[in-house]
């Protein structure tokens, strides 16, 4: 037996999952099903889509309509699914590499169109599955297998990127702040258009070890100490925010959703 939540929503024959001890992805996956449960959604009307990566393995464990696609292309497949079946709640589970490196172009255009998709990025600042190559969210100066002397690139702020491209809901939480994460995923799903949740996860095996940041507990303590809620941030002087990052709902500005606009065009011809 496992908890009723896990029994209800997981493919029990596929558990325990194969993620490493302390991998944050299990916490994010649980937050997704908890959000679905609290929203009392009809599971037949949900489709969960992923690309490739440790994070993208999540739908394999989840007892829903699921689609495990190719690296970087989850949002392209999800766009097709939403077009064919606009009544579906389409949820994309992806990694920082999957979503913002190889899949970056799909991300900006899904956001630009305000496709009715909720994207949860399992952001562990590294390519976990392939052995710790740096990703577009590896902090400048940090190490990866492909940046043994320190990464000189600047990082993507995934929420700002999505918002600038047209996303109508963005939010960030961490695996330490899992309760907030559940709330943001719920609000992201409730938004009809494109929602992006930046779920800060931890990869103790590659990111933690390569950067001597310790085990999951130490990394989660760092997340706890360095995350500032947006509500509190507005009242803090800039020097208190140096080196910190924002969590909470970052943007919420509903706009017409793509498949609804598309339907209007189709209906304009049917009427005549």
């Amino acid at each position: 037996m496992a908890s009723s939540l896990i029994e209800k929503y997981m493919r029990m024959d596929k558990l325990p999952h194969i993620w490493c001890p302390g991998c944050g992805h299990g916490i994010v996956m649980r937050a997704v099903v908890k959000a679905i449960d609290e929203l009392e959604l009809n599971r037949e009307k949900i489709c969960i889509v992923s690309g490739i990566g440790c994070s993208s393995r999540a739908p394999g464990y989840m007892n829903f309509n699921t689609l495990h696609t190719t690296h970087g292309r989850a949002l392209a497949f999800a766009t097709g699914i939403k077009h064919a079946n606009p009544e579906l709640e389409v949820i994309v589970l992806t990694g920082d590499g999957d979503c913002t490196a190889i899949g970056g172009n799909h991300l900006i255009h899904a956001a630009r169109r305000n496709m009715g998709i909720t994207t949860v990025v399992f952001n562990n600042n590294i390519y976990g599955m392939t052995g710790g190559q740096y990703s577009p969210t590896t902090p400048t100066g940090d190490k990866g297998t492909t940046a043994p002397y320190g990464n000189i690139d600047k990082v993507f702020d995934i929420c700002s990127l999505a918002q600038a491209a047209g996303a109508t809901y963005t939010g960030r939480a961490t695996v330490y702040h899992a309760q907030l994460l559940i709330r943001l995923i719920k609000d992201g799903i409730k938004n009809k258009g494109f929602s992006l949740i930046d779920a800060i996860s931890v990869c103790p095996t590659y990111y933690g070890r390569k950067n001597k940041k310790g085990d999951s507990v130490r990394i989660m303590e760092w997340l706890k100490d360095n995350a500032v809620n947006v509500a509190a941030a507005s009242k803090l002087p800039p020097e208190k925010l140096a080196g910190k990052f924002l969590i909470g709902e970052l943007y919420n500005n509903p706009q017409p959703e793509y498949t609804e606009e598309y339907k209007k065009i189709v209906e304009s011809f049917q009427r005549g």
């Binding site: 558990l15 302390g22 330490y176 899992a178 999951s216």
Partner: protein, 69 residues
């Protein structure tokens, strides 16, 4: 076999010994033993559910009916 006390259930075969639940339990209820979590001080548990919330392996949880009592 599951370890149980006051509605708190541990599934040792799923526990990977990461220590997250132990580190962030506000009441010091849990401890590690041979790389698995176990209950050290079950009476102190306040049923907050933070261990279940953050266990990446779904190996610790509160039984619902007992929680509601």
């Amino acid at each position: 076999m599951a370890v149980k006390q006051k509605g708190l259930v541990i599934k040792p075969d799923w526990c990977k010994g990461c220590g997250i639940c132990v580190a962030f339990c506000p009441k010091d209820v849990l401890k590690m033993e041979n790389n698995k979590v176990t209950i050290a001080n079950g009476d102190a548990c306040n049923g907050c559910g933070l261990c279940e919330l953050r266990c990446p392996d779904f190996a610790i949880y509160l039984e619902e009916d007992e929680k509601d009592e």
